[in-house]
Structure formats: C-alpha cells, structure tokens
Symmetry: C2
C-alpha cells in the first residue's frame, strides 16, 4: 500500500510542472513541446487534494520565472555578507517553504559510524566569532597577508557565444582580487582572502547560495527542510553516503542496476557490503523487478545479506548502459522505494546531458529548445523533485557539464541527511578547493548568472546530441546489424552495444566472458579501446547474461569515431567468423 | 633490541645531514649554526658501517646541492610529456636509489577494508592508451572543447619580494592557457586541457614531479621505494590512513599525544577506534612513556583494546601544545616504534613554520637563515628522513605554508602504503582539484622553482617568528606569571598556556573542567576567543590533568594580540579572585 498523500501530491506535481512524457522508447519519442502535459495519466490511487503549500510550491514554476523570483529575493535580502569560514545552509537562500511538510527521519537507516559522529569542536567554537568586537586567538587560520596570490583572472565565453572560437574572439576576462570585498570592488561578495582560507565543509556561503537557487530552479524538492551541501565530486560523495547508510556488521547490502558504474561497485566492495543487481530494460531499472526482489528477499539465499534499505541508481544516461528513466518510470521506482522503505542515492552526473531524440535517416536533426524556459521544462524530472518523504539524496557533479578538474559537486537531501554528511566531511575532505569555488562562483554567479548557466547547459545538450548522432551514424554504417544492436541514448555519454552471442560459432560451448575478452583484445589489436560489459556486472559471482560493450561519444572526433567503430565492427566479425 | 643496521645508518645520517641539536629547552636553545653537528652523540649501539648506497644517499646532501642535482636530472630526462590522466609515480622523478634497501611490508598492519581494495578497472584500462594510433571510446572523459576556460592568470610575488606591498609593486602576472602544451607555448608541460580534465588519484605527473623533488630536497627517506601521492589535505589523508590501518572488529586502537588535535580525535572516534594518550613534555611525546605503556599493555585494562600498532603524532609545533620534538627525541620515538612495531602517521603541517629561538628581553631578534642552504640545514629532521624501515607515512599540507583553500597536500611513504592509499583515493577524492594543481604548478614549479619556494618558506619562518614574539611580549606584559606559564614555541601557530589550578580558591573542591569553562565563558564575555584544553584531551573519559588554554599567533594583528591577551588575563584573574 502506498501512502495516499504522496500520490495526490504527485498528481498535482504532474499537472503543474510541465514534465515531458515518459521516454518509453528512446529514439522514437517526439520532442516534448513546451507546455505539454502527460498524455497518459499516471496510475493514481487517490484524488485527495494536495495541501495548499505543496500546491503553491509546485505552481511557482521552474526556469525563468523561478530565476526572476530568486533575483527579487536577492534584492530584498541585500548584499551577501559572508567572511572567512562563514557558516551557511540552504535555508538562508531558499524561497518560502512555509506550510510544507518536513522530511521523514532516517535514524534506523543510518550506520553505527554515522550515528556516532559529533560536530567538529573547533568549527562549533567559530559561532562565537559573531560577537561584535571579539578577537580570536582560537582557530589556527593563517592570515591572508601571507597568501601569495594577489589576483586571479580567467578568460571565459560570453553567453550564448560558447564555442572555443567565439571565446577567443568575444570572450571576457574576469578577475578576482585578494581584498575585493574589503575594498568594495564592484559589489564583490567573495574574494581570494575568503576563498583561499579555511572554509566550512559545506563549502562557502557564496557558492551555497548559487547552488541552492539552481537546485530550486531545477529540482525544487517537495518538502520544507531540503538542503544542499557541496562535495568534492560525486565519487567522494557516494563513498561518504555509503558509509553513512551501510554497516557491514549489520549485514547491510545495496541495490543497483544489474550493470552499474564499475567505480561505484569498487567503492562498495571493500566496505564489506554486497551489491545486488536489479533487472534493467531500455529505460534502466525495472521497478517491478525491484519490488519482486525485495518482496521475496530471503537472507539465506543472499549470502546472509539482510533486505536492502538503500538503492543506488543513475537515472539519466546510466553508466554503462546509457539508459534514461522516463518520468513515469521514476515515479514507479519511487513508489517501490516507499513500499520497501528504501533510501535512494540518486547519482545524476549526466542529468543535463539530455539530448534531443534521435531520428535515424532524418534529413535534419530536431531543433533544440528555443529558450531557457523550454529547456528546463524539457528535462525529465529528478527523483528528488518527487521526493515527498525526503528519502532521496541527489548527487550533482560539475565534471560532465563544466570541468572534471573542479572536483566540485553537491548533494541535495533533507536537513538530517545533509547534517550527517557535513559532520563526516568536516573530518575528511573539508569541502571543495577554494580555487575551484572562487573560479566557479566568478563564472556561474557573477559573470553568467543563472540564465547564462542554463544557456550553457542547453548548448551542451546540443553539442552532445551532435556527438551522439555521429556515433550512431558510424554504428549504422559499420556494424553488422543482425549481430550488434543498440538503443539511441536519451542522455549522457555512453552507448551500450549488445552483441548477439547466440550467433557465435562456439555459442554454448564457450563462456560469454571468454568471447568478450577475445573481442576486446582484438579491438586493442585493431586500435580501438571500448569497455567490456563484464567490468560493470554488479554481481560478479553470477554468469554474464550477455555480450555487451560500452562506448562513449564524449571525446573522439567525428572522423575518429567512424574509424573506431569500423575497427570494433572488424573485431566482432572476426570473432564471429564473418568476413 | 633495535636492529643494528638502523643505528649505523642513523649515525651516518647524523654526521652528514647537518641536523640542528635537539631542542631540549625551547626558548633558550641557541640558533643552530650552519654546519653544526650534534654536541652530544646519539646513543648508538653499533658502529657497523652503513652500506655504500645508504652512505652515498646521505652524502648527496640537501638544499641547493640537491636542487642542482635535480635540475641536471631534469635536463637529462628531457621535456616532461604527460597528457590527460597520465599515470605517474615518484620513481619517474627520483634520483638513483640503486643498492638502497626496500621498505618493510605492512600486510599485518593493514585493515580488512584496505586489503580488500582492488585497482579501479577503468583507470587500469587507461594503460592501453599508450598504444600508438589507438582511438579511445573507452573512458567517459569529456572533450576539452567544452571546457569554458580559455586561460587562467594570477598575480604572484617575485622571490624574495614576498610582502603584499612588494607584490603589488613588483609582482608578476603569469598565465596558463587551455592548449599551451599542444601549441608549444613557452616549453609548457601542463595546461588547462590537461589539468581540468579527469586525472589520476595520485594527482598529475607535473605536480608529482615537483613534490617528489621537494621531498628529496627536504626529507630524502633512507630506503629505495619511497613515493609521494597527492592528497586533498592532511585531514582527508589522515581519515584515509586510519581506514587503511585500523579495524574496529579487530579491537584496534591508536596512540597519540595525551593532548591531541581535536579534529584528528573526532576523525578516529566514529570509526569505533579508541585513542590512547601518551604523556608529553616540553618537547612533546615522551618516548619512555610510550615504551612503558606498550610494554605493559593489558587489553583488559584498556576496555578490550589490543596493543596499538599505530602512532599518530604531530612532531613540529604540535596542535594544541605547540611542542616540537627535537632531532634526538624523534630518533628515540622511532626506536620505540621499531621495538613495538608501530606504524607512524607523521602529521607535519607546521614543519616549515620552524622559528628562530625566542630570547626574552633581547634587544634584537636572532637573525634568520642567510640563504636556502642554511635554512634547509636548520630544519629539524622529519621522522620520515630517519625511516629505514618504511614505517612512517608523513603527511604534508600546503594549508599553513601557502593557502588552506588549495585543499592540496601529499603523503610520503613506501610503495606498498602509497599504493593502498591510492586505491582508496580512486574511489573517494579522486585527487586534488585541477584548478589547485595547475595554479600551484604554475607558481611553484614554473615561476618560483625549488629555490624560490624555499625562499618563500624561509621568509614565512621569519614572519611567524615575528608573530610569535608579539604574542610572547603580550603574555609577558599582561599575564600573572605566578599563575600562567608557557614555553615559547619553536614551530607552528600555537602557544599552550598552563594555568596553575592548584592556586584556585576552589581547588580540590571544583572540577578543573568547571573552572576551565568559567574562564572560557568569561573570555567570551571579555571579547576574546581561546581554545579550551579539554577540547584536545585524547582520553575523554579521564579527568583533565590540568588547566590549559590554546592560543594562536597566526592571524591577529600585534595590537589585537596584546588586547586579546590582556582580556584573557582579566578572565583568569577574575576566576582566581585576583584584582
């Protein structure tokens, strides 16, 4: 039985947020129009009216309207004053959540380690610094006098002229000085003397403001006490999250897609936690399969692992399969999570790499979103945007949308979860690099602003659509389609190639993994590197269910992509005894 | 029984490395002269000759001579070629270690978690990229085309003109472009297209080279297979190290100073690991006390904790006490570690903040080192520099010597330990920010060079000497010396004030912690923040052995320092009923 309140809220949300239709068959769905509603109504079990606050919340909209609200709110709040190591949280920067319900508590889901964390004594003592006239001999913060950086500058594009050529021609050089705030330069709220000193593990208040607002524009979680917290990237955030929720001594285990990001699996394994794979289809994780697995869970059949209470999923452009969960698929997954009380770790590095649908053989590609409003409306909703319980931690990363080298991302979750995360970060990463923060703040907040950043993301979707289409064209040209099949990805960087192993001359006699290895080695000999499906198999002790290879269209040029796929095709043909 | 080889090597080291005398009474010891040898010979049990390789190793010297060797080696090696995510290790950049012994293995010291770590599959696959002509559709690395940074620039001082005023006047602006390497700009070996993409968890080859060389100049561990690995700072490095060595299920515990860095204690506690405090004196950890503790270890008396196999220590300018272990003290600690087979986590954030001795009432302060050679010779030797077994992991940080916001440091340890560390970092931090790395490389390697950086560090020692002396002057002026005592620190940022609680009117009737709280609150009321001794007590369940406060001279101005100490004095007098 699902809670009634959620389904009612979900319906309200679906009616107000202009979500695109579920991507039921990537590659054939038409592009969602700007204000399109669901053509097929979701399967609601109740029509109870949503609370007024939740209704108002969802009606406040996304995109430009949300940005206008944010800018008006900033103007009312006055200049942001946040010095060295100033504490901050999203509540300082969010719109009103009055009357909204609070997230559930997750005490029983937390690990022994996480529950044992106490706040960092020295960071707590910093609260006294607010006292006027107080002189601190307390914290060991160096004086900015001895920082050898007087100024940083960077040359960046001017929206919407984002290409390298345009940047060289019309790009702008922006600078950050050491004492811009003290000296009142250009209404500065952040400078090197602040960014390069110690900070809070949440990251700076300046970036906290930008990321909270951005999250409000895009995700807008439907409960009152959501917060964001900066991370050193989603790899690190996932490791912290695993330690927060999973306890080897309790026999804990985790669910994920049956093929999952190998680095994530390698993060889980040494913790003594077993990962179990849920069946996937073209839209990724299959909720019915997850429900069935959990409903019939028997620890004795699972090496003693108790019923999982955590799901790790990559909903958009999943790594390695490239699958994207449509809106209705996400809602169904969320309902199963509610039924079995799962906490969801939603890893969304590819969320903004959502692409236009692929039309094989079409003369012209579909046109991209006309503006920021349309772009935001076209995005498939995040699990956290339908998270009435506060059971989702969404992990965002700038690695795929700006630069991996920033080592800066953020999580969005309830106050309780963010607080536990923060306590851990205080004694681990201590938050992202100050160089990264000040450079990104200068770019995203001061130079581009929310709209400029959304334009950048929209442009990136167009770039990745082009890249993907090149790979698809190469596959259509060079691969034997009776042997190799694929689904055009709707998001991300990856395409999953399925090779029909049943047609192999030695099918049934040879291990699939062995054939996979032969093809992989032949690929290397032919001069192309692809990733082997077996690297991503969640349950390593199970037989490989098929012959798969992961390819990426992120980095190779059109010419190289074509040559690379041709080489891959040769390797497959060789193994299958084709000419 | 100590291994004979070590003592012989140590003697050789003592004769060749021009170490300063043990700082037996900080504040009274005279400044070590350039080529001074130990006045009191260390307690060697053997005079067996050191192997020729070790002898040659130690005779190759530190300081300018080492830098000359390094530059000659670089010239012979030719231009460094290291592209996106290039793998590297210290062996690529070290001088010859031919004939040197290898570090011991630490298999029995490692935790179950650490032993279970496998190399990251996708990073391993990157080895195929070396094949000429290979096209990669393997890794999900974004193309640098879509990085919105065309150029970074920074204004930095020109050695030795390091002050803020000089930087404004004579500072240089240096730039890093996106494609400096591809375009062959100014012999560039590192640029934004490399630094801002994904990298290895060890950090970039470019910074690996600089840090390996720097470590060779300063520490030069006396075994063959030492390596460095970049970190996101020592807080994160310590957390990883704790997880590498300590296992709650094995009943593991850790030794540290009886007053220790509170954040370190807070890192240990949630792991279910108990920390035990070793008695300290003016030179920090007392080796005889540690030996006694370990020799008589009884788990039943220690809440079931098995005999510790790890020591965490801050040898220079210890946090919170400010104590610095002299050279002979370090050797004695190392000998005890050998006797009880301890692995040492040497946390050295303040190593380069070694100051000139304090002379109360002297008209002029002692003169600083005359040059880089003298500066390097004057540094008290690191534990890792006497580590013949490879039982030390030294943690370095740039937070105290450049900027905390870099979130970049490094560890120095044996190949085995660095490899385990790296395996963890691959699924956690993924190494430091690329912005931090490229900015620091531009500054340290390309602009200042090794000599310029040593000049910066030397200058910093002078700055901190000045800051410390101001705090000492304030203490001498404002504190009741029959109640409050202190030892002038020889390194770091902290001074530990001991208040004689026996003189308190309610001594014996009131808990020391209660008096401490009263004084602390009174300090806040009077407008000064100091840190309470109890915050740093290692064994929280033990009674506080005395009344202590930690103060720092790092950040306050001379004027504020004087006022702050005067306020602290008032709070103490008030509590003790003095006028």
């Amino acid at each position: 039985m699902l809670p009634i309140t959620w389904t009612a809220r979900a319906r309200r949300a679906a009616l107000c947020q202009h979500m695109p239709p579920a991507i039921s068959r990537p590659g054939t769905a038409s592009r969602p129009s700007k204000r399109r509603l669901h053509t097929k109504p979701p399967n609601y079990s109740s029509v109870e009216a949503a609370p007024a606050a939740v209704q108002a919340h969802h009606e406040s909209g996304r995109g430009m309207r949300a940005i206008d609200d944010i800018m008006a709110r900033r103007a009312r709040a006055g200049k942001l004053v946040a010095g060295i190591a100033a504490a901050s949280d999203s509540d300082m920067f969010k719109g009103s959540t009055e009357g909204m319900p609070k997230a559930k508590r997750w005490d029983n889901h937390l690990s022994r380690e996480s529950k044992a964390r106490e706040p960092c004594t020295l960071k707590q003592a910093a609260r006294h610094l607010k006292k006027p006239g107080l002189i601190s001999l307390g914290g060991g913060l160096p004086s900015s006098e001895v920082f050898p950086f007087a100024e940083l500058g960077m040359k960046v594009p001017r929206p919407p002229h984002f290409s390298e050529a345009e940047t060289l021609e019309s790009g702008q050089t922006v600078k950050v000085g050491k004492y811009d705030v003290r000296d009142g330069r250009g209404d500065a709220v952040y400078d090197l003397s602040i960014a390069l000193n110690y900070g809070q593990s949440t990251g700076s208040a300046q970036m906290m403001r930008f990321l909270t607002e951005h999250t409000e524009v895009i995700c807008r979680p439907p409960y009152a006490d959501w917060r964001v917290c900066q991370t050193v990237g989603s790899t690190g955030a996932l490791e912290q999250a695993l330690r927060m929720f999973l306890d080897r001594d309790r026999g804990d285990s985790i669910l994920t897609e049956e093929f999952s990001f190998s680095t994530a699996l390698e993060t889980v394994a040494p913790l003594g936690i077993r990962a179990f794979g849920v069946r996937i289809d073209q839209q990724g994780l299959v909720p019915e399969a997850m429900d069935e697995m959990l409903s019939s869970w028997n620890p004795a059949e699972r090496g003693g692992a108790r019923k999982p209470h955590v799901l790790y999923t990559v909903p958009s452009g999943q790594n390695p399969t490239g699958a994207t969960q449509g809106a209705e698929r996400r809602r169904a997954i969320y309902r199963v999570a509610q039924k079995h009380d799962l906490f969801i770790l939603e890893d969304e590095p590819y969320y903004f790499l959502q692409m236009q649908p692929y039309r094989e053989g079409a003369a012209t590609p579909p046109s991209p979103p006309a503006n920021v409003e349309e772009f935001v409306s076209s995005l498939v909703p995040s699990l956290v945007s339908m998270d009435v319980d506060g059971r989702v931690m969404r992990m965002d990363s700038l690695s795929k949308v700006l630069v991996p080298g920033s080592r800066l991302g953020w999580i969005t979750a309830s106050e309780q979860i963010v607080e536990r995360y923060q306590r851990h970060a205080e004694v681990a990463s201590q938050g992202p690099s100050g160089f990264s923060q000040v450079i990104l703040h200068k770019l995203l907040d001061e130079t581009w602003g929310h709209e400029g950043y959304l334009q950048w993301l929209m442009n990136l979707g167009v770039e990745y659509t082009r890249k993907r289409d090149r790979l698809l064209a190469a596959c259509e040209e060079h691969l034997p389609r009776d042997l190799v099949s694929w689904t055009p990805p709707a998001a991300g960087m990856f395409m999953w190639l399925t090779v029909d192993h049943a047609q192999h001359p030695e099918a049934g006699k040879r291990d699939i993994k062995d054939i996979e290895e032969e093809i992989f080695n032949s690929c290397i000999d032919n001069g192309v590197l692809v990733a082997r499906g077996s690297w991503f198999l969640t349950e390593k002790d199970r037989p490989l269910p098929g012959l798969y290879f992961r390819t990426t269209f992120a980095s190779a040029s059109a010419e190289n992509m074509s040559e690379a796929i041709s080489r891959f095709g040769r390797a497959v043909r060789d193994s299958f005894g084709r000419k």
